[in-house]
């Protein structure tokens, strides 16, 4: 995280908030229910890098992705793409701006129109953004097929003639077609077989090397994130609890939730098994957030201050931020197996 990167962010998200409201009773006679899916989230994605959002299902990571590609309008906050606030645009300017952010979807079977051929699917963004004439578009489509590793003669196939991996390659080709600066990949490999998964991840890496594109990669799978990410943000219940360069996050996780996540990845060798106990309890409802720290209901280290105060983002190391009151004492506790919440209070 050097100063050079900070100067040129492709995507800058600041104070992003999304509240879903539902009415209680007929015509909302009994008030409204508010659900804070995403609460005051800020981060930035630098050019040519991969930023991963990690968290369990329902933590708001998909909602952030949908706001970044502007399928959802933010309730508050800004989504700046190449310096321009995407969230505030509308009409034709919004449509034009979409060229700079494309999306790769989770379900490769649902995200392709089954009535369109492979070539038509990849050509669609080119047509929409009026890129090139018929001949250049045709050549570009074939080049995109090469780039994502699809045989060129697949151009007249319908999606249901393709396998899951091939469909996802097609989805990536479509996302690349308009030459965006950022691709949002929402669980892009979650629906694929494990054997195909690494192929697609390698494809994404290769494309990045070739084109210098940036990714906002949304996943719940730490092993995927570890392979791909340059920077990682860990989300819990609509907020970022820890944000750091990938290496720092895996080597020195500062937030209790991040630790629990990393520990929950099954070890491949018995020697590497960790002794820390897994998280207990359920994620609280986003419609009734706990006071203070939102992780306190499941945190083994929670104390009084966690109930009273929302933990501020503190900088653990350069570029490594954590939202926890106790981050300074946690590593010490971790060393001694008998550590409890009481000793934190004493410290």
């Amino acid at each position: 995280m050097s100063a050079v990167h900070e100067v040129d962010p492709v995507l800058e998200v600041s104070g992003l908030t999304r509240i879903f409201t539902s009415q209680k009773g007929p015509f909302g006679l009994f008030g409204r229910r508010e659900l804070r899916a995403v609460d005051d989230v800020s981060f930035s994605v630098e050019r040519g890098r991969t930023f991963c959002l990690v968290g369990e299902s329902g933590c708001g990571k998909t909602t952030i992705g949908r706001m970044v590609v502007r399928l959802l309008k933010p309730t508050a906050g800004a989504v700046r793409i190449n310096g321009e606030n995407f969230g505030a645009l509308s009409g034709e300017r919004l449509r034009r701006k979409r060229q700079q952010v494309q999306m790769v979807f989770q379900d490769p079977f649902a995200c392709l129109n089954s009535r369109m051929t492979a070539a038509e699917i990849v050509e669609e963004p080119l047509l929409n953004f009026a890129i090139g004439d018929t001949e250049t578009r045709r050549r570009r489509v074939l080049r995109l097929f090469d780039q994502v590793g699809l045989p060129q003669h697949f151009h007249s196939r319908l999606p249901h003639h393709l396998s899951g991996g091939q469909r996802q390659r097609l989805g990536i080709a479509r996302a690349l077609a308009a030459e965006p600066s950022l691709i949002v990949a929402d669980e892009a490999v979650a629906a694929l077989d494990v054997s195909i998964r690494s192929q697609i991840l390698n494809l994404l890496k290769d494309v990045q090397k070739e084109t210098g594109i940036s990714y906002l990669f949304i996943s719940h799978d730490l092993s995927v994130v570890r392979y791909l990410a340059d920077d990682i943000a860990v989300m819990y219940l609509g907020a970022i609890v820890e944000r750091a360069p990938a290496e720092a996050l895996f080597n020195a996780p500062a937030h209790p939730y991040t630790r629990a996540l990393i520990d929950s990845v099954p070890a491949t060798h018995p020697r590497n098994r960790r002794r820390r106990s897994p998280l207990e309890g359920e994620v609280p409802s986003a419609a009734a957030l706990p006071s203070g720290c939102r992780f306190r209901t499941r945190c083994p280290f929670a104390t009084d201050i966690c109930v009273r105060q929302v933990p501020p983002m503190s900088e653990v190391a350069a570029g490594h931020f954590v939202a926890c009151h106790h981050w300074q004492v946690l590593p010490r506790l971790d060393a001694g197996p008998s550590g409890t919440g009481d000793s934190i209070a004493a410290a």
Binding site: F105, D107, L112, M116, E124, F129, H153, S156, H160, A178
Partner: protein
């Protein structure tokens, strides 16, 4: 399944093209075998259309009176018999096909165009949804026949008025069907993908949403076609539809009603033809629904 396997086996571009065209040919040949109901109903409706178009040449004057040959039972000379003033029931029934089919087709077209437009707009633009659909509910609350009789009584029995009178009560049903499919389609991932790919709203509706709703629309259109023919006959039977000088199944049945006990063929043959046409249209609708609704398909690849 076999079709797909063969096209997969050949990898060259030329081979693939040749295969798809021969597949198409084979599918057309196999169509009546796979969809006997659809083929039969289409055939029947096609036969009726041909009869309707050809009736001026294959029949005599439907208004030609024959005072001596009144109320004759069906015979070799007059296969459907004659009515109370000696007109040929066969000739008149064939001419009546023209009225019924043209009213049915016009109503189906008008209803489809307006109903689809309202349904798509209501389904895709949430702001308009409530207003448009409550307006449709209001129209649906009016009994169709009463509205039709009132309109005809008010403006007079011209073809335009009859089509309007029958189409108006059918439009809300079409709008509802279309709105329901648009509501599910707009949430599909590929529609969201089309939005992020920079598709204009009109492009998205035309390329991604309308083709998906085409199945239910076609099915509903055939039902509208059938019920429009029945409504037209009801209106003519009540004397509010086709003018008496133009033979239609409805006014033939109305006239034949008085002679039902001594000459049942005057009412019977137009009624039979109406029943056959409506049945064919409904069967076509059912067969189309079975063919187009993926949830009713037993794992067959389309």
């Amino acid at each position: 399944m076999t079709i797909i396997t063969t096209s997969d086996a050949t990898s060259s571009e030329d081979g693939e093209k040749r295969n798809t065209s021969s597949d198409r040919f084979r599918r057309i040949i196999a169509f009546p075998l796979r969809q006997p109901m659809l083929a039969a109903s289409c055939g029947l409706l096609f036969a009726f259309s041909v009869l309707a178009l050809a009736s001026p040449w294959i029949t005599g004057d439907p208004a030609a009176l024959d005072p001596l040959g009144r109320l004759k039972a069906p015979s070799a000379d007059q296969p459907f018999g004659t009515d109370q003033v000696g007109r040929s029931v066969l000739d008149r029934a064939l001419w009546g096909t023209r009225v019924s089919l043209s009213v049915g087709i016009s109503v189906a077209m008008v209803t489809t165009m307006i109903g689809v437009a309202i349904g798509v707009v209501a389904g895709y633009f949430r702001a308009i949804d409530t207003i448009a659909m409550r307006a449709m509910d209001a129209v649906m609350a009016i009994p169709a026949i009463l509205l039709a009789i009132a309109l005809v009584a008010l403006i007079g029995a011209s073809p335009f008025v009859i089509v309007t009178a029958i189409a108006v009560p059918e439009i809300p049903r079409m709008a509802r069907v279309v709105r329901a499919s648009v509501l599910t389609l707009r949430e599909r991932a590929y529609v969201e993908a089309a939005i992020t790919c920079g598709g204009r709203t009109t492009t998205i509706l035309r390329r991604h949403i309308l083709p998906g709703a085409a199945g239910p629309i076609m099915v509903q259109t055939t039902y509208v076609f059938a019920s429009a023919m029945i409504l037209e006959s009801i209106l003519s039977f009540l004397g509010a539809g086709t003018p008496p000088d133009v033979p239609s199944w409805g006014n033939m049945m109305s006239e034949g009603r008085q002679f039902l006990q001594i000459a049942p063929w005057i009412l019977g043959f137009p009624a039979l033809m109406l029943a056959a046409t409506v049945l064919a249209a409904n069967l076509m609708g059912d067969a189309l629904r079975d063919m187009l609704d993926p949830s009713l398909q037993g794992g067959e690849l389309r």
